[in-house]
């Protein structure tokens, strides 16, 4: 494994993910201290991507749990296969097993449907577990996660406590639509993913689209940074920049004048208010 944060940077770079020293250090610590990592930041700055890249760096699988309002233990951790249990009871009606034995049987591993969190801790080798957009889940679920994140175990009333056979590398992401509980934060390393600097964003574009002209890419990045300064409803993230670059290549635009810009605007702006606002200040945005 890695012995210094700086070893991570070229390896991640090979995989197409541009990291600075700070994120590399945090990822390194996450691997070394075996602690979950909480990534917060605006939408589209590459939080989820970090988990995917980490999985391919470690050559392991990624298990993803997408959070939403109302997410409960049954869809996140486990559920009993109710229909199968019923069938088993029917089949065993004629058998000589005692009631207790029958009960043990239907509450055994075979009848357990493993959902992402349980899958992640019961696999043979460590997996990367991505708990995406945790801020969307309810507080009850957040509280439930505490046991998993600190002790790496899950309690199932009918079976007892299941301890992790391998500790997963956990990445949580949040768009900060609400404040997460202190208890959860304390169990994680924390990193705020900022919008990238111009240099870094330029690198990212080249990484994804090597064929793009440097001058054009530079202009694009400049425009994106000026747009971000405008305080829009939905500021374009890195994902939008890449989409935009792809769009520009597809449209065969070679120069970003007013016409070319307006033509490709739909790649970066996703609300009518924002489009109006940017169009109103188009000269400033184009520099």
């Amino acid at each position: 494994m890695f012995n210094h944060p700086s070893e991570l940077i070229p390896r991640l770079d090979e995989l197409g993910y541009v990291v600075d020293q700070e994120l590399a250090t945090v990822l390194y610590l996450m691997l070394k201290l075996e602690k979950p990592l909480l990534l917060e930041g605006n939408p589209g700055v590459g939080k989820t991507e970090a988990a995917y890249i980490l999985a391919s760096l470690l050559k392991t699988d990624l298990i993803r749990l997408q959070c939403y309002e109302g997410l409960d233990v049954h869809s996140a951790v486990y559920e009993w296969n109710y229909q199968k249990q019923l069938l088993a009871i029917k089949i065993q009606e004629q058998s000589d097993l005692s009631a207790a034995q029958k009960e043990d049987l239907i509450f055994s591993d075979d009848y357990l449907l493993k959902r992402p969190l349980l899958q992640a801790i019961t696999s043979d080798r460590p997996k990367v577990l991505l708990i995406d957009e945790i801020d969307r889940a309810d507080e009850e679920f957040e509280a439930f996660l505490l046991e998993l994140l600190s002790a790496f175990q899950i309690s199932i009333p009918e079976m007892g406590t299941i301890k992790a056979t391998s500790k997963p590398f956990v990445i949580l992401t949040s768009n900060r639509t609400r404040e997460l509980s202190d208890a959860l934060k304390r169990r994680c390393l924390y990193f705020w993913v900022p919008y990238p600097s111009m240099e870094k964003e330029l690198k990212i574009i080249h990484k994804h689209l090597p064929e793009i002209e440097t001058q054009l890419a530079r202009e694009m990045v400049g425009i994106i940074h000026r747009i971000r300064a405008l305080k829009l409803d939905k500021s374009p993230g890195i994902a939008e920049t890449i989409d935009w670059a792809k769009g520009i290549l597809a449209l065969g635009i070679t120069k970003l004048d007013k016409e070319g810009f307006e033509q490709s605007l739909s790649c970066i702006l996703k609300s009518t208010n924002d489009v109006e606002l940017v169009k109103g200040q188009i000269d400033r945005v184009l520099g």
Binding site: P5, L86, F191
Partner: protein, 377 residues
């Protein structure tokens, strides 16, 4: 970093951890242990790497990250500076001599000079927050206003989130025996599919009437911000502003950004900072909106200082009408926060017997108290 042996590094590090704790960062024994682990994982030798590592362990938000960076630079540059003999320590009792004879700073957080005071303000520890919660909106100094706005937004958002959760539709309820049997007849009576009862959804609605007359000028911005936060987190909020006329402002508050909302408001609402005719405005409300908006699940909140130039009888009559239609009628008055305030103005005096609750609205805390009133409803 210059430390070649463990003990002096540990002591210096603990000094830093203590400083962070003094500045309200979340640093406990657990965090210290992890930071030490991080240090031995090879981060120790590099000033920046160690910063990044510590930051990820000590901080839980980007704001804290900014505060941390300042502390880190200040502390460690002073520590290195002390080697060159530049540092002067005001509080000698904070210096401990360790076994190797090198000086170790333990409680640098206690020494305060002018610069540091402004720093402390920026880092906004719990004490500052506590004071700000109780600061009267009318007495906010320029320097505090941004902090106050941030804190208000944070606290009110949490409050409306809690309320929203309380009113939100719960999870599905118990098993509904009859429908389960009916549904499973096709399976020969084997209960393969369970049908659950729906919990009944309580749809509460907030109606807020904000006084924006001249006498309320100092408060109306903050109260509007309060309404804006509620609106952002609560599905059913209808808001009105009134002075001599009543204007519905709900749609202007739909903007995520308060400044945009304000810009729209100032464009559409011309009744800002004029006189007050509460009774007349409430009559407009009753005539035009009450039938549609008010029912047994509505909570009506009037935010006004009660300094009325209209007829008190009008006010009482209209309030009575509202009370009949709404579940709860609450009046929050910024003046109530003043010591010695008595509701003796004509308007307020006649209104008082009609209300379910009469509270203050002059600082963050008094508005937070609304949570209890609303959750009782």
């Amino acid at each position: 970093m210059h430390y070649t042996d463990h003990s002096s590094f540990t002591a210096a590090f603990l000094g830093f951890a203590q400083l962070c704790r003094a500045r309200k960062l979340n640093v406990g024994i657990h965090e210290n242990q992890e930071a030490m682990l991080a240090a031995v994982q090879g981060l120790w030798g590099d000033f920046e790497l160690f910063r990044y590592g510590l930051k990820s362990i000590f901080c839980t938000s980007s704001d804290e990250g900014v505060a941390f960076d300042k502390l880190y630079d200040k502390y460690w540059s002073e520590k290195m500076g002390s080697i060159k003999g530049k540092t002067t320590f005001k509080n000698q009792s904070n210096l401990i001599k360790d076994s190797k004879g090198s000086l170790v700073m333990v409680g640098i957080g206690n020494e305060e000079d002018d610069n540091e005071e402004t720093d402390a303000r920026n880092t906004a520890g719990a004490n500052t927050k506590e004071t700000l919660r109780k600061t009267d909106f009318a007495k906010v100094e320029q320097i505090d206003s941004q902090l106050l706005e941030d804190l208000a937004e944070q606290l009110w958002r949490q409050m409306s989130l809690r309320l929203k959760r309380k009113y939100k539709k719960g999870q599905k309820g118990n098993i509904h025996i009859q429908s389960t049997i009916r549904r499973n007849i096709s399976n020969g009576g084997t209960m393969l599919n369970l049908i659950r009862k729906d919990k009944k959804q309580q749809k509460y609605k907030l109606i807020i009437l904000l006084d924006v007359s001249g006498s309320m000028d100092k408060y109306s911005f903050y109260l509007l911000k309060f309404i804006h936060t509620l609106r952002a987190n609560f599905d059913h909020v209808e808001a009105f502003v009134f002075s001599t006329r009543l204007i519905q402002i709900t749609e202007f508050l739909n903007r995520k950004n308060l400044r945009e909302s304000l810009a729209l408001l100032s464009y559409h609402a011309h009744n800002w900072s004029s006189g007050t005719k509460i009774g007349e405005c409430l009559k407009t409300f009753n005539d035009q909106f009450a039938k549609r908006l008010l029912n047994g699940k509505t909570l009506t909140i009037v935010l006004s200082d009660g300094l009325d130039t209209g007829e008190p009888e009008d006010l009482k009559r209209e309030l009575d009408k509202i009370k009949l239609r709404t579940k709860k009628l609450v009046w929050l008055n910024p003046l109530k926060g003043m010591t010695g305030y008595q509701p003796i103005q004509r308007g307020m005096k006649t209104a008082l017997p009609v209300l379910h609750h009469f509270g203050a609205a002059h600082n963050i805390e008094s508005l937070l108290a609304l949570e209890n009133i609303l959750s009782d409803a």
